[in-house]
């Protein structure tokens, strides 16, 4: 067709009749199938919501009673703390391991590789139990000459509480996965970038921190967010050590009251809420590191809502003024 270019009135179809002065109006393609799909989806969602709200087994009253219960809030806080410490230690360790893997020194490479291999091979639950029983394996920790005399020694039962055992177990596991995420990010940066930095005489550490890592973050951020979210939920595994994090707290409550399903809902909603916060955080982190990759960054959801409102207003104003 020839009608898509405006301003070329001579090419307008012969049956268009009257001459127009302004540009021709573009009519978007209609998608009736989409509307049918939307209708079906809406019905299914409505059914699901109905089933959730009306099922007496869910005991929404119990849910409300316990959602802000001090012991539950305490559990939520401990879960956040476990996630925070394990994430910080895990990603710090992961970064070190990643650069060991990428180092020209073969011994460092093999060490990092072996660490990742072992830790990834052992189920997290098993790792957690190992650390919990560390005092059985090594009752004393000492500082001194390797294989020689000791200067200080500590009893592991005092040093490693169950919470610190949990943090250690989660961090050790996290470091193995984080190292692969960081390594993937570093490998995603084109070799020419390092070459340019080297040709400019930029110091080695600065090359990594200023040139490589910020670009690697484009690849690292989505994977790291994934890993952080799974870490956050994996904290529920340490409930086997009777640590009063969110999941164990809920277990204790339903053990006492036998209100299993509503208590599981309490935990679920808390997990979903906090994961949502992490997801929003991820969105803005990714935007931050998208600098320079596209000509103009797409609008944030908040900006999009504002734009939509403005468009609606404009459309309403248009309707109001007859042509």
């Amino acid at each position: 067709m020839t009608t898509t270019t405006d301003g070329e009135a001579s090419l307008a179809p012969p049956d268009s009749g009257a001459e127009r002065s302004g540009p021709l109006k573009i009519v978007p393609v209609r998608h009736p199938g989409r509307w049918v799909a939307v209708a079906i989806a809406l019905v299914l969602v409505a059914q699901l919501v109905h089933a959730l709200v009306t099922n007496p087994g869910l005991e929404w009253a119990t849910f409300r009673q316990y959602f802000f219960d001090p012991s539950v809030l305490h559990g939520v806080w401990l879960t956040i703390e476990l996630t925070f410490y394990a994430a910080v230690a895990g990603f710090a360790g992961g970064m070190v391991l990643a650069f060991m893997r990428l180092s020209p020194n073969p011994l460092l490479r093999v060490t990092a590789y072996a660490y990742v291999w072992v830790v990834r091979s052992v189920p997290l639950l098993v790792q957690v139990l190992f650390w919990f029983n560390i005092s059985y394996l090594y009752s004393r920790l000492s500082i001194g000459v390797p294989f020689g005399p000791e200067f200080f020694s500590f009893s592991t039962t005092h040093l490693v509480s169950s919470v610190s055992a949990a943090v250690i177990a989660l961090s050790v596991n996290e470091a193995a996965f984080a190292s692969e995420i960081v390594r993937a990010g570093v490998l995603s940066v084109s070799h020419g970038q390092l070459e340019a930095a080297a040709a400019l005489g930029i110091p080695r550490r600065r090359q990594l921190m200023r040139i490589v890592l910020p670009q690697a973050m484009r690849t690292i951020a989505p994977n790291a967010a994934n890993q952080l979210i799974s870490l956050f939920k994996n904290t529920s595994i340490v409930s086997v050590m009777a640590i009063m994090e969110l999941f164990y707290t809920v277990q204790v409550i339903y053990g006492r009251t036998s209100r299993i399903v509503p208590m599981l809902l309490v935990a679920t909603v808390w997990y979903v809420l906090l994961t949502t916060l992490l997801t929003i955080f991820q969105y803005y982190v990714e935007r931050r590191f998208a600098k320079g990759t596209t000509r103009v960054l797409p609008p944030t959801p908040v900006e999009r809502v504002r734009l939509a409102i403005r468009d609606l207003r404009a459309a309403a104003a248009d309707e109001g003024t007859p042509r």
Partner: protein, 272 residues
Amino acid sequence: MTTTSPSAGRRPGDAAADPARVVVDIRDVHKNYGLVEVLKGVDLQVHVGEVTVVLGPSGSGKSTLLRCINHLEKVKRGTVTIDGELIGYRRVGDRLHELREREVLRQRTHIGFVFQNFNLFPHLTVEENLVEAPVSALGVPRTRAQERAGRLLERVGLRDKATAYPGQLSGGQQQRIAIARALALEPKVLLFDEPTSALDPELVGEVLDVIKDLARAGTTMIVVTHEIGFAREVADTVVFMDDGRIVEQGTPADVLDSPRHERTRTFLSKVL
């Protein structure tokens, strides 16, 4: 300073008669990639203010030679000296001791390098690209580096792009920024590795114009390129390389119009 017109240029052939300082001194450089010998003994001297254009078929070792000059590649034999300083090694008696990376990085600040694919840092603005190396490698105060970046951008005609990101610029603009970035270190010599090969034909001119300006201002340069017209106009010396060796070198008039070697003649007949 030297003139850019080739007819009035120095005769680089008789370096002994030339009072000018040798800035780049390449002696008997050999380089292997595995079993493949890519440089088979290259000797080349570039004097201060001189523009040397290196021509040759792909695979002849032109880019490798350039990368050996700033030690992005280690040579197997031979030496590269910039303004009297041995690059990549310290000579003690008959031995060459490899320098630490930190020292090599310091040496590279004297050697500007412009890549075929620009290699600008895409996550930094144009100004940050220009300021990064002077600040982190030379310790120039940031404000001084920024002032200098502004002047350099002026010089390549992109003053208004200081806050743009490389991805927002055309290829020709990016390469001009890359040239400015290399100049920000005030190097003793500028190396160009096929600076226009990745550009649309209509953008080649603006980059060559910047290089010509630099030549007129007396910048010492070695340019690997396929632009014969540029070589004829700007070069003081044209070097023709093939199969890891310099086949012949001389003024553009000598090498381009009356080549002495058969290999040069066949190459030129194909590209002209």
